[in-house]
């Protein structure tokens, strides 16, 4: 047993994350799985697995779009949890860009780890992980190879549409007109990065830029965002777990208090 003091569950639109933390805030066990439409049994199963590894009695904090479906002592929004998780990782103020499947969040974090401001993309998949997933699927570029392909591109082919559906049609036209796939993939990353950069500017504030969420695992996206912002972007360790970590830490703080 690793002595977990709290467990955090982050039920996102694409993946479901569960982490257990010890009294020092370290992750002692975790699970990540694609989100199942039947949220409750999936979360129960993942909790059971994490508890088997980290201890049976830790209280649960939940976040993410599916948080209301989790039997948890404490439910908080992803904004609060990502800020908390990111601050625990870096220990300094800054701007967190969390790119998930359903939305992209930009959170300005204060000197004490508090949320100073936030902005999110609204009612549209453009600017999210789903955008990349859909279009790269159309290009038949596996996510695991995308960074390598983008790096190979001699030039970026501009993709002007910011709507996922229209961008998909645009990409089909570009492919049909003989544009190289790597160049289109690079153009897609730039289009997405420019949208997210606008969101970062709307939440304002200086300081270092951190990145979390599943899309942060895509190094091409991290590079494109850095270029669009003209600032370095630092990817947090285990970026997918940041929200669940924040949920666990918030829960632990209340429980220990």
């Amino acid at each position: 047993m690793s002595g977990a003091v709290a467990i955090g569950v982050d039920v996102g639109s694409t993946t479901c994350k569960v982490v257990a933390v010890d009294a020092a805030g370290r992750i002692v066990a975790h699970r990540v799985e694609p989100t199942d439409p039947r949220i409750e049994p999936q979360v129960d199963r993942l909790l059971e697995a994490v508890r088997a590894e980290a201890g049976p009695d830790a209280p649960v904090g939940a976040t993410g779009y599916g948080r209301k479906r989790v039997r948890a002592g404490r439910a908080l929004t992803e904004i609060t949890c990502h800020a908390r998780g990111a601050f625990a990782r870096v220990g300094c103020p800054g701007v967190l860009v969390d790119m998930g499947g359903q939305d992209t969040k930009v959170i300005r974090i204060g000197a004490a780890g508090e949320v100073l401001d936030f902005a999110m993309n609204d009612k549209c998949a453009a600017g999210t992980g789903r955008f990349l997933e859909v279009i790269l699927g159309r290009l038949r570029v596996p996510l695991a190879e995308v960074a390598e392909q983008v790096a190979r591109a001699a030039r970026a082919v501009p993709v002007s549409s910011t709507c996922t559906v229209f961008a998909e049609s645009e990409v089909i036209s570009l492919v049909a007109s003989g544009e190289p796939l790597e160049g289109i993939a690079k153009g897609l990353h730039q289009a997405l990065a420019s949208r997210v950069a606008a969101l970062v500017r709307s939440a304002a504030g200086g300081g270092e830029v951190f990145m979390s969420g599943g899309v942060a695992l895509n190094t091409a996206m991290v590079a494109a965002l850095g270029e669009a912002l003209r600032r370095p972007v630092r990817v947090l360790p285990e970026p997918q777990l940041v929200g669940a970590l924040g949920a666990a830490l918030s829960c632990a703080a209340v429980h220990l208090a």
Partner: protein
């Protein structure tokens, strides 16, 4: 009895006998429904005045059903100087107020579908779509709206009203009076005010012709005095929320503003606000809050989300948040200081040119800054209203400035004042919850 006299008699009967009877019956039914049901939730005890408000507005709409042919009827925009029409005996109908009612009752999508089928874009203001949809289908929660004899439109709230009222004029084949107010940068210039004054004088001529009556100068002075008194009383009602706890919620204010919009310049309006003000002051004295446990005070900018107003305010009130002031309800209080009964037309030109929506961003920021300070708010929610572009433009800058200058938290919330199809409840709730969580 001539047909017009008979109609007039029916109109008066509706206002003096049938309407009050209907209102009493409805109140009795409401009381019966609520009997024995304990009041729960995060709000303080309901305002007693609500009953009177319902009576007043029900009576207004009920009497309106019988207005055409009995008295001259004008359909007017919310920022129109309606007091000028009062001495001529006009029954004023406010399509925006009516559209808000449709919004609360969530019937906007159906009405909008009807006009979208005629070729109107869904990007149009939902108030315009609601009104034109109601005209096209005859559907209205008011039972029936009287046919207008005059359309009175003032561009101080937006340019959409111009095209909207032109469409109405084309449909009803009645005169349209347009009062064009130049946009105010800083302070309106004398030649701007002269331009508006000339149009108001022209309005008097057209309205006299339509009503077949002459405006008695003393009657105009009296209507202007009542309008000023009404806006001042409304300002006094709003100002009670400067106290802690605020005796009502900003959401209450959205509903209680109906008389100052639709009945401005009448004694019924003023009598109502005296009653409301006294009740609010009494609640302040007794420490009764609009929210049971007021922990955080917020400002709301822009129109309400009529179809979700209760959900949003409940979500916030459950955590002790209250919108103690709103720039929207305040707009009808601001005008009072510029209205001068000694100079009805000239002062109306000045007052109605300086409506918040007709002012530049620095002036709007000034109003928000003043409200935030006077009402001691810790945060603000700026409703980015898909339907109201003039109100929503510049909010990103306003957000940054308010946060930087006043050190308050500010949230930009995307929604619509009338059309639920432009509102994502889960995402909206998520943003509001995250905003509240950021207060610790």
């Amino acid at each position: 009895m001539s047909p017009s006299l008979a109609r007039r008699a029916r109109y008066e009967l509706a206002g003096r006998v049938a309407g009050p009877l209907l209102v009493s019956l409805e109140a009795w039914q409401r009381r019966l429904r609520r009997r024995g049901r304990p009041r729960e939730g995060p709000f303080g005890p309901p305002l007693e005045s609500v009953r009177k408000l319902k009576e007043l507005m029900t009576l207004h709409y009920f009497q309106g059903r019988y207005a055409d042919g009995a008295v001259p009827v004008a359909w007017v925009t919310s920022g129109f100087p309606v007091e000028i029409l009062r001495p001529l005996g006009f029954h004023a109908v406010y399509p925006e107020n009516h559209a808000a009612m449709c919004g609360v009752q969530r019937i906007v999508p159906g009405l909008s579908d009807a006009v979208e089928a005629q070729g109107y874009s869904r990007d149009l203001c939902s108030y315009a779509r609601t009104d034109l949809g109601s005209v096209a289908t005859g559907r209205t929660p008011a039972g029936r709206l009287p046919r207008p004899d005059l359309l009175a439109c003032c561009t101080n709230i937006c340019q959409t009203v111009l095209y909207w009222y032109r469409a109405l004029a084309d449909h009803f084949r009645v005169p349209l009076v347009l009062v064009d107010t130049p946009y105010v940068y800083g302070e309106a210039k004398p030649h701007h005010l002269a331009y508006v004054r000339d149009q108001l004088e022209e309005l008097v001529c057209v309205a006299e012709r339509v009503s077949g009556r002459r405006v008695e100068p003393q009657a105009l002075v009296e209507a202007t005095r009542k309008a000023k008194e009404g806006t001042d009383l409304w300002a006094e009602c709003l100002a009670t929320a400067k106290q802690r706890p605020a005796p009502w919620t900003g959401i209450d204010g959205f509903f209680h503003m109906a008389p100052i919009v639709a009945l401005r310049g009448t004694e019924a309006c003023n009598a109502y606000y005296r009653l409301l003000r006294d009740e609010l002051r009494d609640r302040v004295r007794r420490g009764i809050g609009g929210v049971r446990e007021e922990k955080h005070r917020l400002l709301w900018d822009n129109l309400p989300i009529w179809f979700a107003v209760r959900e949003v305010s409940t979500l916030l009130a459950e955590r002790g948040f209250n919108f103690v002031c709103t720039s929207y309800t305040n707009a009808w209080a601001e005008a009072g200081s510029r209205i001068d009964p000694a100079n009805p037309i000239g002062s109306a030109a000045r007052a109605y040119t300086h409506i918040i929506l007709n002012q530049d961003l620095p002036n709007r920021l000034g109003i928000l800054r003043r409200l935030a300070r006077e009402y001691a708010v810790e945060g603000a929610v700026l409703h980015s209203d898909r339907s109201c572009k003039p109100y929503s433009i510049g909010q990103v800058d306003l957000k940054e400035r308010l946060a930087a200058e006043l050190g308050i938290r500010v949230l930009l919330l995307e929604a619509d004042h009338g059309d639920p199809r432009a509102w994502a409840p889960e995402q909206g709730e998520n943003r509001l919850t995250a905003f509240m969580e950021s207060f610790g």
